[in-house]
Symmetry: C2
Subunit: 470 residues, 2 copies
């Protein structure tokens, strides 16, 4: 018995993929991923139509999907994040059916609920054995954690492992085990190592970003949460990473022994682990090679599945034990609703990822954002798109002041006691508009191009097309 | 949010356990397990009736179940193995409903199929954190692998972790993760370390056993399978362990680099790993402290779930990649059907465990058994109970000759070429009966006390009560 299949084309046929079915992909190879494009090219060659692509995230490397959409090979897309290139095409209306945006926790939850069934999952595996035991920790395309792929392996009817490093059975230290895998295909390269590490995981050097980062660290310090057992997640944006750096300094100075760092893991969290700020890292996705190396070699740094990370239907997820999360925003409104899906023109250039999940789970969810970008204010009356509802957001840190959700009077008092510059979010909005002027209302197109599905499975918001350029 | 509950009684109430429901247990603490008795005592105290107990195995330590059966607290039992103490009571007819025997692979398969639903699973965890991440590798009651408990955690409606070593969140190196766990209860002791290590895992010193063991090793050597990449499982019986010792000598002498050792892992397999006979050990259950220590410290020694080990509904299981398994028998008939459920009086004293699973999966499944025990011949016309069907058994090794299943003429030829003493199984039976005399037909009672359910989910055989002593 072997599961080895000679080609991607052959495995698609063996899986019985037919018009109208759903295929799934995970995004640990990020902008270096070859697998989605290889598979979709074969699906197109085979003449299949009306395929739904359920990807944990889509990057600019996946722009060839645009062609498959035009040719009606792909007529449905589900993703937790879509980067600007493909996002712009979607916002201009290339899809007939709205894209389904989910969160990193909502995606496996909807698979578990049965509301998002997958016919064939393709797992890009940096190392695998011929029976499908696989890992991301080793191999020339090593990406570290395969966290998001566990749900695909568990819930898809057919599971195909695609690898460029086939090793003898049984693989040591497997992440996904053979009992979930139907077929294994060996290819020359599952990805381009240069693209697997994201360019976004560098610390900011922008003075405004550094001011916000330092303020964010002071907010955490003042929150009452920075005691032994502290747990923390930060996004991979420059200012949030800088905040981690300032936080580390405070923790070391105060001798705070934290419990765990969570999430997409970067070199900065690895550094905090090694410095003794944390006892553990729980890793659903590695953002850089330091994180990959740490996951491979340090037993305190542990891979977790997307369900373990953030699923709202799990018996519990790590986000439920999280003290503080630092998150970004493209817009935030006076009700603290946050948009991370669209840019200032209303064009898709992101998605929730774990934004909503961690905001819902953490004791303190903090948005770090400048008052304005390119002279456009961040604070609006109503965000273009609700990515994360305001009820789950505690505080906004800008260079011009800290706005606390009225729901969190306790937190506001603590920050005031610490001498921090707490301002009302409406005042902050007005202060910003005195600099930038009041922006014109964003014109929007007449079609819904995407639905934002909350982690609970309901439609949270809709994203409209952007109007034709005149 | 915490999952910590003060007592077993409270957790039973929180889980909503009601009359007629099913509870499940795993057996990694073997004859040292306290958890099943603690839980069942509370269930009895609470006045619940008509409970079905689904345990991966039951040992003599679980004899208090007899009282619960008499009191109608327990009216159904499912297990993969039941040792002689409780087995005798069942064979005498204390249960109204027949016991359901499954295999270690069939048990999780029936949970996955939905034909064996569990309401509340109790996981005995040597170490756990307050959210339910748990492991068997560390703690005063360390048992190593928790392999059989994974299915319970995945498929039960409610999952309770019971531990005597609660550590801060998040536990490093968890086996079962919090996303499957509803509640955690801390108790003084989940088991008695002395009973966790089985007394059966000692090598035989019996001269007949040693002859059979050496012959078994020679059969493997002659089988054509003993080449680089060789994989192997052996039971924990004295003669099969001795065979492993002889096999090791042959492998080292010939320089054979094996692939993996599988199964319930003993010190003997750990020794073979360290000696270079194998690259890996895949461990669903540790039989002794050397195995526990190796699993904890040697990354080549890896825990696997029962599904990964042996489930027939898994996409594949490790047993499918197995070259040779050595197994025992209380009876074998001329069609090579094997009984490991009942003793010479027809009384329950065992069960398939992984017997049927490995026999079905391995390229060579070998039974090692003496021609007779206590003057009762092993080879019969028809076994009292079919535990493993003859189609899955390749060869029988006794001290009086080697019988090859006629289905395996290729193997017979190889053994003859190697100068081994191959005999027809009927001749072996006659030869035995010339020594022992022809035994009287076993009188059997008139009630079915157990059903043997094959790994495919069908009823393979039935076990009858033993008649009243006159």
């Amino acid at each position: 018995m072997t599961k080895l299949v000679k080609s991607i084309r052959e495995v698609i046929e063996l899986c019985g993929l037919k018009d109208g079915m759903t295929v799934s992909f995970h995004h640990h190879l990020r902008n270096g991923d070859h697998v989605l494009n290889l598979v979709m090219a074969e699906i197109a060659e085979l003449g299949l139509k009306d395929i739904f692509v359920n990807a944990s995230s889509l990057f600019d490397v996946h722009t060839p999907l645009g062609e498959h959409i035009k040719n009606h090979v792909v007529t449905g897309i589900g993703a937790d994040y879509i980067s600007a290139g493909l996002g712009r095409a979607i916002s201009r209306g290339i899809m007939e059916k709205p894209v389904e945006f989910r969160t990193h926790g909502g995606r496996p939850a909807d698979m578990a609920r049965g509301s998002s069934p997958v016919d064939v999952a393709f797992v890009a595996a940096p190392t695998a054995d011929p029976m499908g035991n696989c890992t991301g920790k080793i191999g020339k395309s090593a990406c570290g954690s395969l966290g998001y792929a566990f749900a695909d392996a568990m819930y898809a009817k057919k599971v195909v492992v695609i690898t460029d490093n086939l090793v003898p059975y049984p693989l040591e230290g497997f992440s996904i085990s053979e009992d979930f895998v139907d077929y294994v295909v060996q290819v020359d390269a599952i990805g381009d190592p240069k693209g697997i590490v994201s360019g976004t995981t560098r610390i900011t050097r922008d003075p405004v970003g550094l001011v916000m980062a330092e303020t964010a660290a002071r907010v955490i310090d003042a929150s009452g949460l920075l005691t032994d057992g502290f747990s923390f997640q930060t996004g991979a944006g420059g200012a949030t990473l800088a905040a981690a750096k300032f936080l580390k300094e405070i923790m070391l100075k105060k001798g705070v022994k934290g419990s765990f760092g969570l999430g997409g893991i970067t070199a900065y969290l690895v550094d905090m682990l090694r410095a003794g700020c944390f006892e553990r890292l729980l890793d659903v996705q590695c953002f850089d090679l330091d994180a990959v190396e740490s996951l491979r070699t340090d037993p305190r740094h542990q891979e977790i599945s997307a369900m373990h990370y953030a699923s709202p239907v799990a018996k519990s997820a790590a986000v439920n034990s999280l003290d503080v999360v630092l998150l970004g925003a493209t817009e935030i409104d006076c009700d603290f609703n946050v948009n991370v899906h669209t840019d200032s023109q209303g064009s898709i250039m992101g998605g929730s990822g774990g934004h909503s999940d961690t905001a819902a789970g953490a004791k303190l969810s903090m948005i770090i954002a400048p008052m304005f970008r390119a002279r456009l204010p961040i604070i609006t009356d109503r965000v273009t798109c609700i990515s994360t509802p305001g009820k789950d957001v505690d505080v906004l840190v800008t260079q011009g002041g800290i706005a606390v959700n009225p729901r969190r009077a306790d937190l506001r008092d603590r920050l005031l006691d610490a001498g921090l510059n707490v301002v009302d979010i409406r005042e902050l909005k007005e202060k910003t508009e005195r600099i930038t002027g009041t922006p014109r209302a964003l014109p929007r197109g007449d079609r819904v191009v995407a639905k934002v599905i909350s982690r609970d499975g309901d439609v949270l918001d809709e994203i409209y097309s952007i109007p034709e350029m005149k």
